[in-house]
Symmetry: none
Subunit: 82 residues, 2 copies
DNA sequence: AGTAATTTGTTCGTATGTATC
DNA sequence: AGATACATACGAACAAATTAC
């Protein structure tokens, strides 16, 4: 089970906490084929704002874990695509 | 006469102002049978963006004043339909 | 029957304003 | 002053269903 809550009192920024959470969920095998939930959906799911979600996704994209197709969605990078 | 302008300097969000305007116009008897103007039309009429229009329509839909048929249009809820 | 236009649905990109720490 | 964060807002692009011709 992965924690979907953000601790606003934590010294760890919310966008970092979200990146950690998404990294775990991806590692656990969520969204193997299709796209991740949309920014708006993640906003609602985690109770956070838009730019926080976008920052988290950018972290994962910089790590090569996901890639974003504009106006399509964000996808998990397949291993045979590395 | 119903005001069709959005005051961008108002603390009231544009989508709320639009919802108020549409609610008044519906109450005044506009669009008794047919659908409301399309999103694109309302964008032009009020000089606002797409998501602002959609948020306003969602407010009215949540209030039960209108209902949207996907890819058809948004209709005023008839009283004998309540 | 078939193609183009219309319309809503969805999504990311970007910008601004405000508040907080 | 700067980083973080939320809300609002416009734009652009594409999908999918419906309608018009």
């Amino acid at each position: 089970m992965t924690d979907r809550r953000i601790d606003v009192r934590s010294p760890v920024p919310a966008y970092q906490q979200l990146a950690d959470s998404l990294r775990q969920r991806i590692g656990a095998g969520e969204w193997p084929t299709g796209p991740l939930p949309s920014i708006e959906h993640l906003q609602g799911e985690y109770g956070i704002g838009r730019d926080t979600v976008m920052r988290a996704i950018k972290i994962l994209a910089d790590e090569g874990i996901v890639y974003t197709i504009p106006r399509r969605g964000t996808y998990v990078t397949r291993k045979d695509h590395e």
